[in-house]
């Protein structure tokens, strides 16, 4: 458990010791390389320690530590050799051996990175079939180191004059093994690339993202090396550019490996790759434009002109914006099909939306199509943490198994949740940018869903109020009949009984008649509240109504039963229409019809009166119209002068 710390401490001590030796010896040449080397080693040690302590079971941490250990040993050996041979000759023992390490152990530098390539990210070979090849690769490296150490060629600069501390082995003996091991070592490096490629092809999810990090870093190394060499070639020495890109080349792989293993979600690797590509192409294109224009204008007006530089700068500045968009599109189309197609689909949808050819409620389906997940669901989040679909239906219960949720936020407020296939999370940039582009549509859709739900809520409560009103009428009617009316009958009976016991029963007769008429009035009152005949159905109640009417009234009503509030509302329409016909229309006869038609109860009242009735006239019908509307129905009044009045009420009554 302490081992990683001990190893890291040892490496750090080596680094510090090398720096001290360099300072003491007053080293002046190859300083940039030495600093790059030191920084890279330090970074590598830190990352190795981090991975080795955080992911104990994973040998990648140890590989990083070993890699930095090699770098540290080689760096220290150089400083040691420089001090002991060049700075203060003869002052240090074994300085010649240090030169052997510096000059001949270079293949070891590639071992760590190559092994990471073979074993990344889980510390195992891609498959057991790779085992013999891995063994061959290890033997090649080992053989190569032995061969280079034993090789009789003199050391390179600045140690060309240092005598070899080893016996010379003739080329005849060492030539063939050296060539074989060198080829094997190159094969090992190629094999590492092949391993990464193989894994990348068959990987998915997290592993795929991890491998993308490694591949990205690996691709960066040759570019950085090329830039270093370019500076050396142009200026003749390694300067700050070589220093910076040297550090990049040496640390890119360890950094990428550490990020991939510890925090593969730290940055969006795909977006990083995408941006790198875009800006590389953009830089190259703008540099070409700059060079072409300054060259062209320079030829025209004479070289060294500031005009040429200004024109070229202006052209580059003007070109930057549009060119960037074009290059981004090009890169997306060529290298990032998913992102390109997704954003295009959202863009098309937004245009349709603006043109009024698409409804915002279609956003969910659009996203499903744009992201290539037909089962994708867009769930709107309303107040009170309620989730609803585009139709306003409340979604409860657990999510479908194996789905993933991605929240949609705007201005910090949760708007909706996208329930999607987990594979979409492998490309968080595509998911986020597609959802982000559709943000406005999602917000509009959510508002519309919310308004519709609230309206439905209000309508439902209005219907409940009306229904409760009818329920109240029924209760009132019961109370009148079974309470007050019964009591009056009892009183009447008591009076009759009393008559048997008094000498002159006659005066009580008048009282009983009063009681009887009170009962009759009460009965009429109760009928106005709610006709008891409705208990036997609408048809029955309507026939009863017709019988009591002064007008000649025909009833053609279905005997089908409906919900109580529907029957009651229909009854009062007919009752009110009949009363109007008798009161205002001067009608001779009325026809009442009640039938079921297309899921509605249709009540029609037609009279042969003078017509000309305005719908607003007579607040009785207006109030009833409101109640019918509350139950989701409608009332129409047709009343041309001289042609009678037709009132039609339609009440939804289920199928």
């Amino acid at each position: 458990m302490r081992l990683p710390w001990i190893v890291a401490s040892g490496i750090s001590i080596l680094l510090v010791a090398a720096a001290v030796l360099d300072a003491v010896s007053g080293r002046s040449t190859g300083l940039a390389a030495a600093v790059a080397w030191g920084v890279a080693t330090f970074v590598s040690v830190g990352l190795g320690l981090l991975v080795a302590t955080r992911r104990r079971g994973n040998p990648i941490g140890w590989l990083l530590l070993a890699n930095s250990g090699v770098l540290a040993v080689v760096g220290f050996a150089e400083s040691y050799a420089r001090y002991g041979l060049l700075g203060h000759p003869g002052s240090l023992p074994g300085a010649a051996w240090a030169v052997v390490v510096v000059d001949r152990a270079w293949p070891l530098i590639f071992v760590g990175v190559t092994a990471i390539g073979w074993l990344f990210p889980d510390g195992r070979l891609p498959s057991p079939r790779w085992r013999p090849w891995a063994l061959a690769a290890a033997l090649s490296f080992a053989g190569l180191v032995v061969c280079t150490v034993l090789e009789a060629t003199p050391f390179g600069d600045p140690f060309a004059d240092v005598p070899r501390p080893l016996p010379d082995v003739s080329d005849g003996i060492i030539g063939v093994p050296l060539a074989v091991c060198a080829l094997g070592s190159i094969g090992a490096i190629v094999g590492a690339a092949a391993a990464v490629r193989t894994r990348l092809q068959r990987s998915s999810g997290i592993e795929r993202q991890q491998l993308r990090w490694l591949a990205y870093a690996a691709a960066l190394v040759p570019v950085a090396v090329a830039i270093c060499l370019l500076e050396v070639a142009v200026t003749g020495d390694d300067g700050p550019i070589a220093l910076a890109f040297g550090i990049v080349a040496l640390t890119a792989v360890p950094i990428a490996v550490a990020i991939a293993i510890l925090r593969y979600r730290l940055y969006e690797i795909d977006r990083l790759i995408n941006r790198t590509l875009v800006y590389a192409v953009l830089t190259a294109a703008l540099a070409a434009v700059f060079a072409a224009i300054s060259l062209g204008v320079g030829v025209a007006v004479g070289s060294g002109s500031t005009l040429a530089t200004a024109a070229a700068t202006l052209a580059v500045a003007l070109l930057f914006g549009p060119l960037r968009a074009r290059v981004q599109l090009l890169v997306d189309r060529r290298f990032d099909r998913a992102r390109y197609a997704g954003l295009q689909a959202v863009q098309r949808f937004l245009e349709e939306l603006r043109a009024g050819r698409a409804a915002p409620e279609g956003t969910g389906e659009m996203l499903a199509e744009a992201l290539g997940d037909p089962a994708l669901e867009l769930r709107f989040r309303l107040d009170g943490d309620v989730e609803v679909d585009a139709a306003g239906r409340v979604l409860e219960g657990p999510d479908p198994p194996g789905r993933m949720r991605t929240p949609v936020r705007r201005g910090g407020l949760p708007l909706a949740t996208v329930v999607h296939d987990p594979s979409l999370a492998e490309r968080p940039d595509v998911l986020d940018s597609t959802i982000g582009a559709a943000g406005l549509a999602i917000e509009i859709a959510r508002l519309r869903v919310e308004v519709r739900r609230q309206l439905a809520e209000v309508e439902a409560s209005r219907a409940r109020i009306v229904t409760a009103g009818y329920e109240e009428r029924r209760r009132l009617e019961r109370d009148l009949h079974d309470g007050a009316q019964q009591r009056l009958v009892s009183i009447g009976l008591a009076l009759r009984h009393l008559q048997h016991q008094v000498p002159d029963p006659a005066p009580l007769d008048a009282v009983v008649v009063e009681v009887a008429s009170a009962i009759e009035e009460l009965r009429e009152l109760a009928r106005g509240v709610r006709p008891a005949g409705l208990d036997d159905g609408l048809g029955h109640a309507l026939r009863e109504l017709a019988r009591r009417s002064r007008l000649k009234t025909r009833v053609d009503a279905t005997d089908e039963r409906f919900e109580d509030q529907v029957e009651t509302a229909a009854y009062f329409v007919a009752s009110e229409a009949l009363a109007n016909a008798a009161k205002h229309a001067r009608a001779g006869s009325v026809a009442i019809a009640a039938t079921r038609r297309n899921g509605s109860l249709v009540v029609q009242v037609r009279d042969d009166g003078i017509g000309g009735a305005a719908p607003s006239e007579g607040s009785g019908l207006a109030g009833i119209t409101d109640r019918i509307a509350a139950l989701g129905g409608s009332v129409s009044v047709t009343s041309p002068p001289g042609e009678g009045t037709v009132i039609v009420a339609e009440l939804p009554c289920g199928s």
Binding site: Q486, V489, L493, I519, R527, G533, D535, A546, R547
Partner: protein, 216 residues
């Protein structure tokens, strides 16, 4: 006459009991729900059961259902159903079978006519509330009745209420012979069988009105 009363309101139940007893009849049982009514009828086999339509537990049509049960289980027991309001639907059908009456509750205040109707039902006759009859006969809707004169229509209504010729004569202050003439005329005009049996005649009239009612 031996009577069973079923009425859930105690005051009214007592009032009815006193009414029958004041008129010299025997109330053998006075109960407050339909189940006890069935038990009392089975136990006492009375001449008449007076039944309230709305009784516990639901206060809807317990009385009508109990009445049907009595008609089936004890055909000799007359059933007089009392209601707070005109609920013609079930009642007219039952009345047309005879031995059955359907009256509004406040008819009890006219003690004489009420007891007369009760006696009629107990003897196998019928009694239909004047309000029910007038809703059957009334209005211009019952086109078939247009052939009758005003007086004949009056006679028809009283026939429908269940009254005998004697009863009709007394009510209309006519001689029995005149009433007989009107009755013959009504039956002929409506093409109804003219029989000596008053009950059957009443039933024919009610059946006729009911058929007319259904056609509307």
């Amino acid at each position: 006459m031996r009577v069973v009363i079923a009425e859930d309101q105690a005051l009214l139940r007592d009032g009815l009991q006193r009414l029958f007893e004041d008129s010299g009849h025997t109330v053998v049982a006075a109960v407050d729900d339909a189940d006890r009514l069935r038990g009392a009828v089975s136990e006492h086999e009375p001449d008449l059961a007076v039944v309230d339509v709305r009784m516990p537990p639901t206060h809807t049509d317990e009385g009508i259902r109990a009445a049907r049960w009595i008609r089936d289980a004890h055909p000799d027991v007359g059933v007089l159903v009392l209601s707070q309001h005109v609920e013609a639907a079930g009642a007219v059908g039952l009345v047309s079978q005879g031995g059955f009456g359907y009256l509004l509750k406040d008819r009890v205040l006219d003690v004489g006519e009420f007891v007369e109707a009760a006696l009629r039902v107990a003897r196998g006759g019928s009694a239909l509330d004047p309000q029910v009859v007038s809703s059957l006969v009334g209005g211009d809707a019952t086109d078939g009745l247009a052939v009758l004169t005003e007086r004949e229509r009056e006679v028809l209504s009283l026939m429908a209420e269940g009254l005998t010729n004697v009863g009709i004569a007394r009510r209309l202050v006519l001689t029995e012979r005149t009433v007989e003439g009107h009755v013959r005329s009504v039956l002929m005009k409506l093409d109804l069988p003219a029989g000596e049996d008053a009950h059957r005649r009443v039933l024919a009239v009610i059946a006729y009105l009911r058929a007319a009612e259904i056609q509307r």
